[in-house]
C-alpha cells in the first residue's frame, strides 16, 4: 500500500543494488541460457515448428500420462493437506500421548525420499511385500497386486510429501494467538468448531503455500509411479526425462515441461490473489502461546489416538526396514527370503571399501551447504524487495525467478553447459563450463523458487509496524533487515536451508552434466556404484548410502530443530514462563 511508487524504490541505493544484482542474475542464469535452449529446440530452422505439438496430441500414451500427472497433483493437493494437517494437529495442537515420538515418526520423510522411499513401501505392501504375504496367508483370494496403480501412488506420495506441512504449517500454528481460541471456547464453540473456524483460517496463507508445493511435487512425480504405478498409472515425468536426453526429442520434453510449468504458474497466480484478500497475522499485542487442546469427547479422543499411532507405524516401518535391509544381502531382499544368515556387513564393506568413498560425501556436503546458504541469503534480500516494492518490474522478476519450477533440472543443466562453454560477457568474459562453479550455480538456481515462496510467506507474517518503528528510529533498510526482520524469519530460513541442503545432497540430475571431474558429488557416486551390469547388490548399496544420508540429514535437522527449533523452543519457553509464575 505504502511504498509502491518507483521513486521510493530507486531512492535507496541498497534497493537499487539488490535490484541490479537480481536483474543481472535472472538475465544471465535464468533467462538467457534457457531461452537459448528453448529457441534452439522450438525453432530448429529459424521458424516455429509445430512438430512437438502434433506428436504429443496424436500420442494416446502422452496424453494419458499427462492427464495422470494432473490427476495425481490434484489428488495430492487434497490428500496431502488432509494427512499433513492431521499430523500437525496431533503433534502440535491436540493433547496426544507421546506426541514427541509421533513427531519423530512423521518426520522420517525429512530424511529420505525418491526411489528408496518407494522401494521401502513396495517391500511392505507390494506384490512380494510381507504385509501382502501375511494377509494372503489368511485370505488367499486377495489380489497380490492390490498395492499398485493410482491408489498406491497416491498413498505413498501422500505420506512422503507431508514434510512441508510438518515444518511450515507447524511453525505457523505456533504463532496463533491462544486468546482467540480461548475466546471462541468462551462463546461456546466446540473443539471442531474452533479448529474449523479459528485455527485453520489462520493457517490459510501457509496452507496455500504448501499446497502449491504439493501440487508441484505431484506434477513432477517420477519414482513412485515408476515403482508402484504399474502399466495403468504412468505419469509424464519419465517421458520428459527420456526425451530431454535425446537431442532430437528435446522439443517434446520442453513442451511437456512448459505445460506443467504453466499449470503451476496459474495455480500460483490464483493463490497469490486469494492470499491478498485477507489479513492473517495476529494483531494482538500480547500473543499468548498456544496450549495443547484436550479432545473432550472420549470416543473422538480414542479415535484420534488410534489414527495417529496407526499413521506413525505406517510412517516408521519403511525407514526401519531400510536400515534393516542395508545389512541384508541383496538377493535375499529381492527374493523375499530373509533369514538370520542373510544379515551381513558386506554392503557396508563394499561402500567403505571403495577408494575415496568419503570424498563424494565431502564434495556434496560443501556444494549443498554453500548453495543452500547462498540461495537463502540471496532470497532474503530478493523476497524482501519483491514484497516491499510492488511494481511491474518486481512482478516480472518474481515470475522469472520461478523458471526453475517450469523446466526440468536436466534441461536447466544442459542450457548452462551450452551457454557458458565460451567466454561470456555477462560473467566477465569467463568460461564456466568445466569449472567447479557451474554446478554451484545450478544448485542455487534450482532452489530459488522454493526458497523464494517460503521466505515471502515468512516476511508477510511480520507486522509492518515493526519496520516503521525501526525506520523512525533511524535504521536504514539494510540495518532493519539485519537486526529486526531477519531474526524474525530466521527459524523459517533455517528450515529452508536445511531442506535445501538435504535435497541437494544426493542430487543426480544437475550434477551429471555439470560436475567437475575431480569433484564427484554423491549422487553421481551412488549411481555409479549401483549401476554396474554385474552389480547385483545395487539395492542394498542404495540402502547403505541412504542410511548414511539419513545420518547427515538427521544431523542437519537436529541442528535446526533439535536445539533452537520451533517445537522444542516453544516447549522450553512455555516451561520457563510456567516456572516463573
Amino acid at each position: 500500500m505504502r511504498t509502491s511508487s518507483w521513486a521510493s524504490m530507486f531512492r535507496s541505493p541498497f534497493v537499487v543494488i539488490i535490484t541490479l544484482v537480481t536483474l543481472w542474475f535472472v538475465a544471465t542464469f535464468l533467462v538467457f541460457p534457457n531461452a537459448n535452449l528453448l529457441i534452439r529446440t522450438f525453432f530448429p530452422e529459424g521458424q516455429f515448428s509445430f512438430r512437438a505439438v502434433e506428436k504429443l496430441v496424436s500420442s494416446e500414451r502422452a496424453m494419458n500420462s499427462l492427464w495422470h500427472s494432473f490427476a495425481l497433483a490434484a489428488t495430492l493437493a487434497v490428500t496431502v493437506n488432509v494427512v499433513g494437517i492431521f499430523i500437525v494437529l496431533v503433534t502440535d495442537y491436540f493433547k496426544i500421548r507421546g506426541a514427541r515420538m509421533l513427531w519423530l515418526g512423521y518426520a522420517t520423510t525429512l530424511i529420505y525420499g525418491g526411489i528408496v522411499l518407494a522401494a521401502g513401501y513396495n517391500f511392505i505392501y507390494g506384490r512380494y511385500g510381507f504385509v501382502t504375504n501375511a494377509v494372503r496367508n489368511w485370505f488367499p483370494e486377495i489380489d497380490p497386486n492390490w498395492f499398485s496403480g493410482y491408489f498406491a501412488v497416491v498413498v505413498v506420495m501422500t505420506l512422503a510429501t507431508t514434510t512441508n506441512h510438518m515444518l511450515f504449517l507447524g511453525s505457523s500454528l505456533a504463532k496463533i494467538d491462544y486468546q482467540t481460541i480461548e475466546a471462541a471456547r468462551n462463546m461456546g464453540a466446540s473443539t471442531m468448531g474452533i479448529l474449523w473456524r479459528i485455527v485453520l483460517p489462520a493457517l490459510r496463507p501457509m496452507i496455500f503455500a504448501v499446497t502449491v508445493l504439493t501440487f508441484l511435487t505431484g506434477l513432477g512425480a517420477l519414482t513412485a509411479p515408476l515403482v508402484l504405478g504399474g502399466t495403468d498409472f504412468q505419469t509424464i515425468a519419465p517421458m520428459i526425462l527420456t526425451f530431454s536426453k535425446s537431442t532430437g526429442s528435446r522439443d517434446l520434453a520442453a513442451l511437456l515441461a512448459v505445460i506443467l510449468g504453466l499449470a503451476t504458474i496459474v495455480l500460483l497466480a490464483m493463490m497469490n490473489r486469494v492470499e491478498k484478500s485477507g489479513v492473517y497475522f495476529s494483531v494482538a499485542k500480547v500473543a499468548t502461546p498456544l496450549q495443547k487442546q484436550r479432545i473432550p469427547n472420549p470416543v473422538a479422543n480414542a479415535a484420534v489416538h488410534v489414527a495417529a499411532y496407526a499413521l506413525f507405524v505406517v510412517y516408521a516401518t519403511p525407514v526401519l526396514l531400510i536400515v534393516l535391509f542395508s545389512f541384508v544381502h541383496s538377493s535375499a531382499i529381492v527374493t523375499g527370503s530373509i533369514s538370520w544368515d542373510s544379515f551381513t556387513l558386506d554392503n557396508y564393506a563394499t561402500v567403505f571399501g571403495t577408494p575415496a568413498v568419503l570424498r563424494p560425501f565431502v564434495v556434496s556436503v560443501v556444494y549443498s551447504a554453500l548453495a543452500s546458504v547462498i540461495v537463502v541469503g540471496g532470497m532474503l534480500f530478493v523476497s524482501r524487495l519483491l514484497q516491499k516494492h510492488r511494481n511491474p518490474l518486481t512482478a516480472t522478476l518474481e515470475y522469472l525467478l520461478h523458471i526453475p519450477w517450469i523446466l526440468p533440472t536436466i534441461l536447466i543443466a544442459l542450457a548452462l553447459v551450452m551457454t557458458f562453454d565460451r567466454p561470456n560477457p555477462m560473467v566477465g568474459g569467463q568460461v564456466l563450463t568445466g569449472t567447479t562453479s557451474l554446478l554451484l550455480i545450478a544448485y542455487v538456481i534450482v532452489k530459488i523458487p522454493f526458497t523464494l515462496r517460503l521466505l515471502k510467506a515468512a516476511f508477510a507474517s511480520v507486522p509492518e509496524s515493526l519496520e516503521d518503528a525501526a525506520r523512525i528510529l533511524g535504521a536504514g533498510s539494510m540495518f532493519t533487515l539485519r537486526t529486526v526482520l531477519v531474526p524474525l524469519v530466521l527459524p523459517t530460513a533455517a528450515a529452508i536451508t536445511a531442506l535445501n541442503f538435504n535435497s541437494l545432497l544426493d542430487d543426480y540430475d544437475a550434477a551429471v552434466f555439470l560436475y567437475h571431474p575431480l569433484y564427484q558429488p554423491l549422487g553421481v557416486a551412488i549411481k555409479a556404484s549401483t549401476e554396474g551390469e554385474n552389480n547385483l547388490d545395487s539395492m542394498s548399496i542404495t540402502f547403505v548410502y541412504t542410511v548414511l544420508l539419513m545420518v547427515i540429514m538427521g544431523f542437519t535437522m537436529y541442528l535446526v530443530y533439535g536445539r533452537g527449533g520451533s517445537s522444542t523452543k516453544r516447549h522450553t519457553r512455555r516451561a520457563r514462563t510456567v516456572a516463573a509464575k
Partner: protein, 356 residues
C-alpha cells in the same frame, strides 16, 4: 536469542571446516583443470562400474600415466560430451557403444586417430570409413531364461515367438527405459530386418507391428528390481541383458542361464574408444589409447572382467565360457549408420505410441 546464536555458530563451524577440507583437496588436484596441456588425463567412460574404473586407474599408474576416471551412464555421458564440445572437459572417452560414438562423430565431438594396435582389430567393428573411433570390447544383447525353471526344449527358437505365441504372453520382461543403451539396442535389433525407405522413419509397417507386439505382450521391467530376481520368483521367464552380465548373476541367484539363439542372430554392440575433439592433452590421450587398447591390457581386462575383446591378440586371454558363448551366437545384421541416424526418432515414436 542465545540458543539461536549457538545454532548459527555450529552451522558456521561445520560449513567452514568443510570448505577448508575442499580447499585442501583442491590444491592437491589443481594441476588438472582443463586448458592445460599437462597433468591428469580425464577419461570419460560408462564402463567404470564393478571395479573397472579403479582397475584401469591403477594399471595406468603402473604404466606411468596419471588418469582420472569420470564414470556416467551411456546416454548421460554422450549428452555431456556433446554439450561440452566447445570447451571439452574430458580428454578420452571409452566404453560407449558404436551407436553413441556415431553420434559423437556426427557432432564432431571426437577426433580421428589411428592407434598402434589398429592392425589387430577388425576395422569394420569400429569406424571403418574415417577411423574416428576404435573397437575395444564386444557384447551380445541376448534373451535369457533360467534352465532350472524353463526347459531348453520349451524355450522359443525365435525371439519373436515370445510375442507371437500366446503361451509366453506376459512372461517376458521388456525394458521401457528407452533413454538407456540396452533397450535402444533391443529396439534397433527389432527394427533392423524391416528397413524400408518408404516406411515411417525408414521402417515398414510390419516392423512397427513387431515393436507394438513386443511391448504389448511383455511385462514391463520394475524399477529397482533386477531381471534375475524376477526370474527366480517366477514373475517372468525371459528377459534381455548384455552377455557380460550372465556369469555373475548365475553365481548370485544360483540360476543356470540359457540363451535364445535365433538364426538371424542377436544384436552385437562394440564398445569403442576415441580422443575427445579439442583436448589440450592430445598427445597423452593418444598414448592412453595405444596403451589401453593394446593386446596386453585388453587381455588382462578380459580375464579380469569376463569381456570379449575385439583385439584378436588379446582374445586368447578371455575366459573360455565367454568365448564359447559369444562364438555360439550369430551376429545380427544391423545397419548401424541407419540406426544412428534414426534411433532417436524410433525411440520417440516408440515412447509415444507403443510403450505400455
Amino acid at each position: 536469542m542465545h540458543k539461536r546464536t549457538l545454532t548459527a555458530a555450529t552451522l558456521a563451524t561445520v560449513l567452514l571446516s568443510t570448505v577448508a577440507l575442499t580447499s585442501c583437496s583442491s590444491t592437491a588436484g589443481e594441476a588438472s583443470s582443463s586448458g592445460e596441456s599437462s597433468g591428469t588425463l580425464i577419461v570419460y567412460t560408462n564402463s567404470n562400474s564393478d571395479g573397472r574404473g579403479e582397475w584401469v586407474t591403477a594399471k595406468a599408474a603402473e604404466a606411468g600415466m596419471k588418469i582420472e576416471i569420470v564414470g556416467l551412464g551411456g546416454a548421460d555421458l554422450a549428452n555431456r560430451i556433446v554439450a561440452e564440445k566447445n570447451n571439452p572437459v574430458g580428454d578420452v572417452v571409452f566404453g560407449l557403444n558404436n551407436m553413441f560414438f556415431e553420434t559423437l562423430k556426427a557432432e564432431d565431438a571426437v577426433a580421428a586417430y589411428t592407434p598402434e594396435w589398429s592392425g589387430d582389430v577388425d576395422k569394420k567393428a569400429g569406424d571403418a570409413k574415417d577411423g574416428a573411433f576404435w573397437p575395444l570390447v564386444e557384447q551380445a544383447i541376448v534373451t535369457v531364461y533360467d534352465t532350472n525353471t524353463v526347459k531348453s526344449a520349451d524355450a522359443p527358437k525365435q525371439v519373436s515367438d515370445l510375442w507371437d505365441d500366446a503361451e509366453y504372453d506376459g512372461r517376458y520382461e521388456v525394458n521401457t527405459s528407452l533413454g538407456q543403451a540396452t533397450p535402444q539396442l533391443v529396439l534397433a535389433g527389432l527394427l533392423a530386418p524391416y528397413a524400408d525407405e518408404e516406411g515411417d522413419l525408414g521402417i515398414s509397417d510390419a516392423g512397427w507391428k513387431q515393436v507394438q507386439d513386443y511391448y504389448e505382450h511383455g511385462s514391463p521391467a520394475v524399477e529397482g528390481t533386477d531381471l534375475y530376481a524376477r526370474l527366480t520368483r517366477d514373475e517372468v521367464d525371459y528377459g534381455v541383458l548384455p552377455s557380460s552380465g550372465i556369469t555373475s548373476r548365475d553365481a548370485e541367484y544360483a540360476t543356470k542361464t540359457g540363451v535364445i539363439s535365433p538364426e538371424d542372430g542377436v544384436p552385437y554392440v562394440t564398445e569403442q574408444i576415441a580422443v575427445i575433439n579439442g583436448t589440450p592433452r592430445q598427445e597423452q590421450a593418444e598414448k592412453f589409447i595405444d596403451w589401453f587398447g593394446g593386446a596386453e591390457v585388453q587381455g588382462e581386462f578380459a580375464a579380469e572382467f569376463a569381456s570379449y575383446p575385439v583385439n584378436e591378440k588379446a582374445r586368447a586371454e578371455a575366459l573360455p565360457e565367454v568365448v564359447e558363448l559369444i562364438e555360439s551366437l550369430p551376429k545380427q545384421d544391423i545397419d548401424w549408420s541407419l540406426t544412428r541416424e534414426r534411433i532417436s526418432e524410433w525411440v520417440e515414436k516408440t515412447e509415444l505410441e507403443y510403450l505400455p
